[in-house]
Symmetry: D3
Subunit: 249 residues, 6 copies
């Protein structure tokens, strides 16, 4: 598992997450204003959209923009990502600004939705820091906890963390867990794949998941200890402009 910040230069936060062969690009873009139903509330908004590149899957998948409609799975994961991130942020502190999270899967090999959430948290932190630096937050620390996610499966009767696609598609049970760095739960989704599962299997999966999430949370902390890529670039650009001004562009 690696997390690379500053993958793109335009969004306030942009993170490439790699989880085995799975690669997801998570961007957090700041826009002024909020959706219509929220105007005048004084509250900000965090929303998310998830999508897969047609070339990211084993056999090419057709492009949803060309089909003219977003599929059920896409809808479902987009909603999950947004809901998970909203659990950790004080929307009042954002003022009437929106942070749009885009999770675009560049390569899929199992666990794309949980990789997306784990990376999106880092991108969100970068977007919030950027907002703070530009004086747009009413509370300097609007994020109350970390958010990370893993998937756990049962294959041949054994609980396994973060299955690659080849095993994922054989899993008898598949559970996605979103939790904080202290093991408090945000979302649990357990599904028998055409099968049922005992309650104690759910317990074993949760044990395994929470252990995995603890590790991911440590990785997030490490990665966020580095300087903010976009702010660093902005500072370098204005320093250069101050120094010379003659050479530019």
């Amino acid at each position: 598992m690696t997390i690379t910040r500053g993958f793109q230069k335009h969004p306030a936060g942009s993170v490439l997450v790699e989880f085995g062969d799975t690669k997801v690009l998570c961007a957090a873009s700041v826009t002024e204003g909020v959706p219509r139903w929220r105007k005048g509330s004084g509250l900000g908004w965090v929303t998310a959209e998830y999508a897969m590149l047609p070339s990211s899957t084993d056999t090419r998948s057709s492009r949803e923009s060309v089909k003219g409609r977003v599929g059920g799975r896409t809808h479902e994961i987009s909603r999950l990502v947004g809901r998970s991130l909203r659990a950790c942020i004080d929307l009042r502190a954002l003022g009437e600004n929106t942070i749009a999270i885009d999770c675009d899967v560049l390569q899929a090999d199992g666990g794309t939705r949980t990789a997306a959430i784990t990376g999106a948290y880092v991108a969100l932190c970068d977007a919030v820091t950027w907002l703070g630096e530009h004086g747009k937050l009413s509370d300097p620390k609007p994020i109350s906890c970390q958010v990370a996610a893993v998937s756990v499966g049962v294959v041949d009767g054994r609980v396994r963390l973060d299955l690659p696609y080849s095993e994922d598609s054989r899993a008898e049970v598949d559970t996605n867990v979103v939790a904080t760095e202290t093991g408090t739960l945000i979302e649990v989704q357990g599904t028998g794949e055409g099968a049922t599962f005992a309650r104690k299997t759910l317990d074993a999966m949760l044990d395994s998941a929470l252990a995995g999430i603890e590790q991911l949370a440590r990785l997030q902390v490490e990665v966020l200890a580095e300087p903010h890529p976009k702010l660093a670039a902005e500072r370098a650009a204005s320093a250069e402009q101050a120094a010379g001004g003659d050479g530019a562009e």
Copy 2:
């Protein structure tokens, strides 16, 4: 909670479920053939669509056909219902036939998705019986377990089963559980509503949910002990035709 079979005359199974003020019409229609991607497999298919009447909600909701697209929530619940029912049925026994489950919410007051699943199971049983009577099953008992569902919430710190809408919208945590009559799990979806929840809260919610599901499973058994409404009507019609034949139509 009441379950009324034979609410409509056309589908092979048609059930009206009433859960407090929530009313959902669950129909199971049989059609020959399967979706294209399944042709030639010898397997049948069970699919589900969930929708709310515009007039079913507290303030009128706009019609998805008029908007020209199905919303994310609708997509998500449709997929959940289909997945839950497929956990209990041997698709091989259906042959290349499709059972389409339609869950249409006539009145909404919390818990529509779990009411839909609980009722849809009964409609599915009726459709399967009807298929059997018409000689279209390769295995006379293709249903291996019962499927029922409840939602559990935490309101003011206390775990509560099947909240009406007025409390549901205040719930801090909301969990939907789908399980069999023996308490084996099919699907668990727990969500903190803009909040997080401890693992032991999840445990308490599961205890409460499984107790509720046991009761619902007993109700399903009772209700299914009555004669099959559509088969009864078909037999009455052919008896009448045999008897007279002169007055008919």
Copy 3:
């Protein structure tokens, strides 16, 4: 023919119409404001949407929201219902409020559009009464006449009122008539089904239709003589709240 008021609790008017085996749920929901093109006019608006549940028809029909577009027949009937009801109401008296009529067919066996109109009139009356009770009408009696509808067909050369589907599909001519309680016409739509018809056949169909409408108008009067279901429930609720306050919710 039976008309049941108060079938749903949320809309201001909600009526279940049963015409033979045809069952249509007609709801009249009140919303503040009018469509954009009407803003600032001081006039209200009455609009209608008609739809069939997939499970309502002999063989399951596909869901228009899933297809992503409303079919021609649906469009046509929605427009007819709206136009028919607007003939009986003074839109000025509504102020800038909209009454949205939803006619959802629960079971279809011929004559769904005329059943929808006949029931929608009753739901509209209930919505208007509710608006009046809540002090939102500028004229206490904005409805100037009753609106009811029947379909008439010619089968095997004989004029027949309100054919069930089995005969309707054999009809050589099919005429839908919308009229008031005094036999004044609102809409006449006569169609030869791949055939033509003589003018005197039209006359015979109109005679038969107007006789049927007279009966329906009497039924509407009877049904509306009962107390208003939603207002009754609202009064009961506030009486209870006034009385106790301890038991509430």
Copy 4:
């Protein structure tokens, strides 16, 4: 009223109808095969689409292709035109061929749907003749009657035939009548525009309409007495090719 045949060179039948300032282009295109639901029946099909150019109306109307959906009025008229023409033709004689009627309004000034039907009949005759000449009809005379249409309105209490738009929009009642050359009815659609009308008004409108249709039917006969424009062009082209062959193309 004028009818010009051979307005376009590609379709088998192409007619420009001018009714006052209303101009409608009616084309009848022949394609092999029938819609899927009709395959193998041995029957042909006649279908129609009606549309208005954005520039045809008093103030520019937006383009339905750009909006991404066909409006209710468009749907309704398309269905009316198709149904009306199917009343006069023996679909068995066509074999499994489809005639697609396109009625595109170039300029609108009232009565576009009735002008469309009257012109489309002539285009249909041309398409049928063309099919016959190319040996594709099993019965040489598949058309059993003429089809023409007029609209009748009541303005200031007087019945008036084919109102221009300025008066049409003031009409209290508006009736569209489709009938054959002998006055047998095909379709009658009478609508009070936010008003009701007496049965004897309907009778007066029908009298007026049938007189108008008789005149239109005579005009159709006259116009169709001229040679077939596309067949004439085809013959001229093959004669030229036979004569020379050197200059061609």
Copy 5:
């Protein structure tokens, strides 16, 4: 090549262009206001939509409104027409008004997009004149140059101007050139049809194209020397009204 002004009575400019067997109706409609993204800028807007009637092509093409989406070719040509016309007009002089250009192909036989541009220029001039007469221009001469277009192809190795469809589809290279009356370029689009072409072929095509455009520009001048059809009609109508007033309408 012929250009007929005043083909329709409603739009401020309406032109029928005939180029061999190609016929395109170009209308320029004036509406108050500009698209949302341009509001408050003080600038006007010129936009264009191109479409083909289903009956305009050799074999009937399906209707884009019915398919529910605009195809790539349609999009591309609409954008080209709009961009080309905006090169000749000072949008500031229009004030916040929009001129919508509609190019509807009535009959297609090669070169429809270049015919559309050449005709649309004339319609645009008429719309601008009409705006000027009605006192809505801040600069009396907002059009700075003429705009005309031709297509050039290479068939059997020879450069040919404005190919009919039968040759166009055999062309090895196809270039569309939009230019002013003085040969200054506005747009050049050269495409090898599944083939490549030498730079000197491009030069030869440009020579030929600019010669053709010079001729078209002369024709535009001639045609625009005639009186403005819509203004003439408006003047005649108001003269008549002034004279009599008794006979009107």
Copy 6:
């Protein structure tokens, strides 16, 4: 300018192109079969889709799948990429196989469409090599020439190659040129941005463009001299499997 092959593991060809700050991911996926209109022809097909990630642009752009329709610019570029690549390949040699090119812009800073074409050519070569290795080509060298593209602009009167976005948006003229390694043209698209340009400016832009394309063609040759990434991985995997076989997966 850098070109990285083997960026993704699933498609037969996958290339990341970086042109200044512009980054485009070009994938070439092989699927059996061809579109319906081409079935039975014995010919293959090459098609392309272009899209921008919402987070790739300076301010976030909305997602086309969510809007439910592909915009005009997207359509236009997708068509350009496909047409350009088809100019260099013998579709007969592919047999009835389709190569789908996906160009997804990860970061945009001017010249995305020309970067896409230049990278897509390399991905196409990789897909063709992969097809050859798997024995699916009837001709071992179906690619007849290289394809590369640049954009040229005029800024402040001077011709400039491959402008970054900040200058591109100020350009007076913008020309995209697609050509082969020998300077033979495939596509030329020159546009005055709300302005016109002299023919000699076009000549100067072409000179500059062809010089740039020559350089890109050299880079393509260099990059393609390296081993095929996907074939190398496949060989490594099967070698490993042959060696051990015990540990796998």
